[in-house]
Symmetry: C3
Subunit: 261 residues, 3 copies
Amino acid sequence: MRPIALLTDFGLSDPYVGQMKGVLTIKAPGAPLIDLTHEVEPFQVGQASFFLAASVAHFPADTIFVAVVDPGVGTQRRIVLVQCNDNYFLAPDNGLLGFVMHGTTAFAWDVSTHARGASSTFHGRDVFAPLAAKLATGESPSTLGEPINPTDLLHVEASTPTELSEDQAGCMVQAHVLHIDRFGNVVLSLLPGELFERIAPAEAAFQGAPRMVRAYGDLEHGELGLLSGSQGFMELAVNQGSAAEMLELSLGDIFALGMPD
Amino acid sequence: MRPIALLTDFGLSDPYVGQMKGVLTIKAPGAPLIDLTHEVEPFQVGQASFFLAASVAHFPADTIFVAVVDPGVGTQRRIVLVQCNDNYFLAPDNGLLGFVMHGTTAFAWDVSTHARGASSTFHGRDVFAPLAAKLATGESPSTLGEPINPTDLLHVEASTPTELSEDQAGCMVQAHVLHIDRFGNVVLSLLPGELFERIAPAEAAFQGAPRMVRAYGDLEHGELGLLSGSQGFMELAVNQGSAAEMLELSLGDIFALGMPD
Amino acid sequence: MRPIALLTDFGLSDPYVGQMKGVLTIKAPGAPLIDLTHEVEPFQVGQASFFLAASVAHFPADTIFVAVVDPGVGTQRRIVLVQCNDNYFLAPDNGLLGFVMHGTTAFAWDVSTHARGASSTFHGRDVFAPLAAKLATGESPSTLGEPINPTDLLHVEASTPTELSEDQAGCMVQAHVLHIDRFGNVVLSLLPGELFERIAPAEAAFQGAPRMVRAYGDLEHGELGLLSGSQGFMELAVNQGSAAEMLELSLGDIFALGMPD
């Protein structure tokens, strides 16, 4: 039985996630259920998109990801099923899968018909969970919906990594704040690879930028630093403090970083 | 092995829920453990009662529900086991099972003797979990306690749906706030069926009442509406906003709704 | 397959715990995963140490505990594996295992070499989870690292119970606040056994101390009391109120308690 990973903005204070798991236990008994997180900020599709992309590599190759951050629930927005490698993704077509599909070969199906006759306020339980159970118990995607062009799926602005471009005079890069974690670490939409490549030969310090370090503990207490974070992106961090508070950054903000000449 | 669903006001910041699961893993290894939620407001029996009633239909038919919101732990309050259909419910006798038993045929047992010699502060771990494990591993309710009359169980005021009565001149109904969810949606103790029946022929707008819609997304941004919610009751909602904040409603409040003449 | 219990300060709002479970599902499929809690206050090693010690007895005897509260992640601090009875414990060597090893016969291994080549910011996912999976699937501790003297492990001040000493004129004992739970109950570093032994013959009231009771419900509404708590230590409690607020106590504070002459 394939594992099912759950990602929502439902929180854990309501019985919503429990009810989804109840339905999954009815329809796919024995399938391992793994909570990715249910604390996506309400309606923050971009944040969920990042969580998903950052997590896929750490799950079994045949995992079914159910991602429900869905301000449009009950309206005409599509429900889509995407296959990348051997992973499946179920989500509303609102950009949530943008990050995870970035640069991959994907297949997609419109499975919206499964919402017919369902509740109009809780598709996580009444549409997504039953669909996930069908996949977990071996049904083929092609029996569940109509194939669609994966490039037709909606994208949100912050759902792709910032690209370093030359037309910024090589001195500045602007990145989105993808996420602020519990510790106040700020995840930027910057891929370490690109960044390190650019600054590699000189290993010069960024101009006016935080010190680049390898680990949180390499910083002095209260010092701001920049490091290649565990979620695949560059992170601003303060050792045992909050970089978000120090820099007054919020989800979705733009952070400008000086680059070496 | 029967699934065990857990509902408490223990929160997740203490090791309490983890210890309950440890005991269940010792005594009923392999039984699926499903968290309904552990974020019931401390001591809010009525809220827990609603969560349980709203969730039962979405769980396997043979689930054992362990519901521990228990301000009287360690005192003389009874511990009861209730069977409705093929579901079992373990709870303190404080009204928690009122909603879920409403209108059903139930059987009940007093299982308080299992608290003898147990800790006086954590029956969730030391009494309820071992009892649930006994049921999960196949013990019969009748071996666990003395049969009692299910109608003798305690009830709390808010533990049954509001009934629409004619003596209010047909123009007003007062409902309890059963729950305010993470999104600020306000669940009222009103069954959609009754309400829709009353207003069906004309489908007239309520006088001075929020607009009735089918889905959150059918509302304008920031508009207040009334809809048939996923938890089986009428809900006040604001599209991507908080109805509870807009109306300044709290758990247990009374909300008066104008009805068509 | 041995159960794996997880204790961290990662919270549940980030995808960190989900990613740890993803890795465990890849490397030890089928091993029961139990969350002890992930809401240890960030970097509060002493609190985590208490949670672990208070919980071990309620888990299966062969459980693997993965405890990651790790301000030094990515620095030179050691990663250790400890065996007490048939339980295994994986943790950074920062005092986290002090409480649970107190008074036991333990064996210990330095398993730090497994961090070579791993990320420098998320050892929970990249080092601890793979190590736990190895143990869960039957690898022997001695193949995972070098034996070390368990008494060489670091200890933190609050990681052992307060001992009652005579040189305090028999009239006062000072205890640490080990934990404040969701309900405002204050767990003190005082073992009930010692305390009860001291005051046993007379069962006299403490001088100027809160009333000693058996259960929360034995207190009047709003009354402060002292009881033998479910976590193995003495607790200050207010019936349906917060003892921490009433006494203005925080984690790590010292609370002085009058003792009978």
